[in-house]
């Protein structure tokens, strides 16, 4: 397939739109390396595709930007790993190296074991409550029984 036929085949459009199969991708990549005309066409098509989709662009609500900002902050905080510096003076000179702590977030993350602990404490509290009520009523009934027996003995005397 010559260059013009290759361009007209639409395989380059399919490649840039993410519709090409693995074999087609490899073929396009190889042809781009071999043929500067195809590379030039792809560069031009990239601009076309950008114009095409830019014409259909819709401004998203401002809230979406805020969420993206929050998520990107969270993502970068989670990705950072603590590195022990051999020179403590370097750390003092570079305070930006510390992890940022979010203060505006109203949510708190806890370890998942807390769920089990919470359920256990909840169930135990219910058991103790039921046991407490049971023994309270039992002791009060025994007290009444005792009073009744005492009065019976006194009557018999």
């Amino acid at each position: 397939m010559n260059t013009e036929e290759f361009i007209k085949s639409g395989i380059l459009e399919s490649y840039l739109l993410g519709l090409a199969s693995r074999e087609e991708q490899e073929l396009v990549q190889q042809r781009m390396l071999d043929d500067p005309e195809i590379s030039a066409y792809v560069s031009g098509f990239e601009k076309d595709i950008l114009h095409f989709f830019d014409a259909k662009a819709v401004s998203p609500p401002q809230d979406v930007r805020e969420i993206v900002l929050l998520r990107s902050k969270k993502g970068s905080t989670h990705k950072k790993k603590h590195v022990f510096s051999r020179n403590p003076k370097q750390e003092k000179n570079n305070p930006g190296a510390y992890l940022e702590v979010e203060v505006s977030d109203t949510y708190m993350k806890v370890h998942k074991y807390w769920r089990t602990a919470f359920i256990t404490v909840f169930i135990l509290s219910k058991i103790f409550l039921i046991a407490g009520l049971y023994y309270y009523f039992k002791s009060s009934s025994q007290e009444q029984e005792l009073i009744r027996l005492k009065s019976q003995i006194q009557q018999q005397k």
Binding site: R22, S43, D48, A57, V58, S59
Partner: protein
């Protein structure tokens, strides 16, 4: 292999127009957020769902792979936005309908219709070809024609 995997694989190769310096998610959002939202709305017309997909695009770790993408950022964002939107649409359709099929009414073989089926509805060129009784090469040529018509217009 899905679209997202392809994007990741593509980042392993370097060809042309490699962007200078890494951009943050917010910088990318400011530059291409509106374009990505437009693409997602073409695939998922419901604004609240489209906004969720948009957020997932710009908080996705795959976004950072665009920094090493061989083509321009815009093309990487277009692919990523489409892939995420099509994935979300498939999940949505799977939850509501038994199968994600092209409607039988889609007998129109115009380049616009073929672009819509392949890009917006997430069908592979092979699937579009089968549905429209065309060869795959005709489907691909229609994509070329579609962009040529837009370029000339």
């Amino acid at each position: 292999m899905n679209e997202l995997e392809r994007i990741n694989r593509n980042t392993e190769q370097h060809f042309i127009n490699k962007p200078a310096g890494n951009l943050t998610s917010l910088e990318i959002y400011d530059a291409y957020g509106a374009m990505a939202y437009g693409i997602i709305l073409q695939i998922i017309p419901q604004p609240h769902l489209a906004q969720e997909v948009l957020i997932s695009v710009f908080s996705s770790p795959q976004l950072q792979s665009c920094n090493s993408y061989p083509f321009t950022f815009a093309v990487c964002i277009i692919k990523l936005a489409r892939a995420k939107a099509v994935e979300a649409k498939r999940k949505l359709m799977a939850a509501s309908l038994p199968a994600f099929e092209i409607s039988n009414e889609a007998a129109d073989k115009s380049p616009q219709q073929i672009f819509d089926l392949a890009f917006c509805q997430g069908f592979s060129p092979e699937e579009v070809a089968v549905k429209l009784n065309m060869s795959k090469s005709e489907v691909l040529r229609s994509l070329h024609t579609f962009f040529k018509l837009h370029r000339d217009a």
